[in-house]
């Protein structure tokens, strides 16, 4: 296999904010970088995000997600990063070998360093009727309205009040749909309160301690039953409400998309706070397999801002290990980034994530 393989230096899998930032940083240091994404455009999650981003200006806050994606892609191209779109990485094997597929052709690449920045996938939620057409991931609904400009439903029940649930609800309203209600099983709202306030001002009730009981309909969703839950998350009898709805959006969390890391044989750590099993990594974003690095949601579900910083860390560490930059210079750069990451991981949610990341570095 190694004989027929195409030689590359640094290969980045995934063209979201983490992968793009890693590719840019590695190319700046002088490495030859190849960036691979399965979509027909780079940007990852950013391409669906039409809202102004939260965070600091250093992290391009206030700029709309899709514009951030465009800026990063341009920067990568200006640095001569080789961008392979419509290309899936289906396997990562020993000695830096990668299996890719494009235009129905399979090819094998061999790389000196690999950055896995594959992001996260949406969690499903099962309840009677959850497989009916008209039940979909919130991200799916977002893809339909913002990319394809088609409404997948008009009367919507959103399940989950994290930032994804809140933001997608807002975007569904902007696209002309009606969001009947957002239900949240916990006694408090999961996302930032500014987003929740905005949604409430537009007349959408956000019901905490509520869940979806079932979706009904012959061939597609026609009715949805929601109910209040008690302290043990058990539905309270008599509190059921039946709503006429044609779309249920699930925004119940994301899980690191780490198949390639499993395949490569990385060691893992389970973290509820970071979304599930995450590949163990150190502060250089290096996994238990020395030439393999991770960054962004795949190394723990967070935000685009942290994904970009982690990508940069990996880019610097990879090129440092290849001898493109001195240890001294690398250390200086990495310290600045670590400080920014610390600043980003503040507040009630951030603090928790910071502790979890520290735990991972320690176990490593």
């Amino acid at each position: 296999m190694e004989k027929e393989s195409i030689k590359k230096e640094v290969v980045v899998v995934g063209g979201g904010p983490a992968g793009l930032s890693g590719a840019i940083e590695a190319a700046k240091a002088g490495a030859r970088v190849t960036l691979i994404d399965e979509n027909d455009r780079a940007g990852g999650q950013l391409f669906k995000q039409i809202h102004r981003f939260f965070g600091s200006s250093e992290h391009k806050a206030g700029i709309r997600g899709y514009d951030i994606g465009k800026q990063l892609l341009q920067e990568a191209k200006d640095l001569d990063v080789e961008v392979m779109l419509n290309t899936v990485v289906w396997g990562i094997f020993k000695n830096g070998l990668l299996g890719i597929k494009r235009e129905n052709k399979t090819e094998i690449l061999v790389a000196k360093r690999i950055l896995i920045a594959t992001g996260a996938s949406e969690n499903p939620l099962s309840f009677p009727g959850w497989t009916l057409p008209g039940v979909m991931g919130a991200g799916a609904a977002q893809t339909m309205i913002n990319l394809h400009r088609v409404l997948p439903g008009r009367k919507i029940v959103m399940v989950g009040s994290g930032n994804v649930g809140l933001i997608v609800s807002y975007q569904l309203l902007q696209a002309g749909a009606e969001v009947l209600v957002i239900v949240e099983v916990l006694p408090r709202i999961g996302g930032y309160l500014v987003h929740a306030a905005k949604i409430r001002r537009m007349g959408v009730p956000v019901l905490t301690s509520h869940t979806i009981l079932k979706a009904e309909g012959k061939n597609e969703v026609e009715k949805v039953v929601i109910a209040k839950v008690d302290k043990k998350f058990k539905p309270i009898k008599g509190s059921e409400k039946k709503l006429k709805a044609d779309l249920v959006c699930l925004a119940v969390g994301l899980e690191p998309l780490a198949e390639l890391c499993w395949m490569a044989g990385c060691r893992f750590f389970y973290s509820r706070i970071l979304g599930g099993f995450v590949p163990l990594h150190n502060k250089n974003m290096q996994t238990s397999i020395p030439h393999l690095y991770v960054a962004g949601d795949v190394s723990g579900v967070e935000e685009a801002s942290t994904a970009m910083e982690e990508g940069k860390l990996a880019g610097i560490a990879m090129t440092e290990s290849l001898g493109y930059i001195s240890h001294q210079e690398a250390k200086k750069k990495k310290n600045v980034i670590q400080e920014r990451l610390l600043a980003l991981r503040q507040g009630p949610f951030g603090e928790e994530r910071n502790q979890e990341k520290e735990k991972i570095y320690e176990i490593f």
């Binding site: 057409p133 991931g137 394809h148 088609v150 597609e220």
Partner: protein, 107 residues
Amino acid sequence: MNERVENHPILGKAKHGKELTIYFNGNPISAYEGEPIAASLAAAGIKVFRYTSKNKEPRGIFCAIGQCTDCVMTVNGVPNVRTCVTLVKPGMRIETQKGLGKWKKKV
């Protein structure tokens, strides 16, 4: 039925590709070049894309990014095509798939 978002407060007016016709179970549907089959069908209000083999349960779009295979249909005689990541072509014949589908075309 038209479920298209033609005007959007942030994205502006929709920029469509060339208009073309595809066929859903034999019926003509208008579509735009550059969009996936699932988008054209959803725009026409179609939600059921296939029925499962065992329990004959309906399925439709679930992830919209090619990961779950819920949206597979028979396209030009070829079963199990993920319609959310397959772009429309003029004259395409799209059929609701029953179970694992049947090959109608020799390849």
